[in-house]
Amino acid sequence: MSGPSTRTWYWQGVRDGLPFTLVVTPFALLFGVVATEAGLDIASTMGMTILVIAGAAQFTALALMEEQAPTFVVLLTALAVNLRMALYSASMSTHLRGAPVWQKAIAAYFLVDQSYAAAALKYEREPGASVSAKLGYFFGVMTPVAPLWYGFTLVGAVAGSAIPPEYALDFAIPITFIALVAPSLRSLPHLVAATVSVVLALALVWVPYSLGLIAAAIVAMAAGAATEIALERRRAPA
């Protein structure tokens, strides 16, 4: 576990994690505020942020609970938002092969967008490093990020109950989601998937239990994948 290279990699991770605090801090604040606005007390706001530690899924669960969606729909939708993390897990497993299971379990808990993005880039640049150096880097990235995520959620939760409704924070959730998705609409398949999702979700809004959203999401995924296949066929005719 020790050795100079692991320590060096850890501090490189800390340094590479620092820029993420600029993104994580306002996000955590916003979640704390929006959660208390939705009626969660400080204990459940903090419980969610610590146990789930996945911003977009937390906002998803919150939005659906506010709409009184059934619990299984809340869970299904929020877990679907986190499915991308199976890809992170698959990608990380190739780099962290041979690490003890308990270390992999801690890494899994902290496997968020930021730690994955930083680690995947670093491991790709230096594939020959030892597993303990790689883990050191991974935990280094999370060292500044995780405490700020917890801490500023708490600040938001405490401040949130003091914010009057004129600030229209009800709309912070939709704006956050739009801001999360808009930058990823960089290819035709992504645009097709998003458009299908919007059109079907609006058309199926009458379907009970928010199942219209689930149906819209499944068709939109298929539409995105189908567009991707069609584009590949056109580029390279078989």
């Binding site: 146990l51 869970l75 199976a86 739009i178 994948a225």
Partner: protein
Amino acid sequence: MIDPVTVWTVIIVLGLGTFLIRFSFLGLIGDRDLPDWALRLLRYVPVAVMPGLVAPLVVWPEATGGSPDAARIGAALAAFAIGAATRNTLGAILGGMAALYLLLWVT
């Protein structure tokens, strides 16, 4: 107000489920790889779920009793335009909220 039993059920199951997703390949499944069709579909999960979740909230916001509201639609379009043009999530949130306050103040 959301019922506390529902909230804690969601927190605990979502926490466990999210952990299992993150641990899946690292710990449980081992070294096997996902089939290509699954990887292809998984890539589109965020863009398939989030726009559909947001669209009704934008078109029929609860704060106005469900009737379309120019300020909120304008703010959503502003956030989208900034996010798509700059690829900066934080900038899009701040721009969208600024547009919302401006439009609420104007209308």
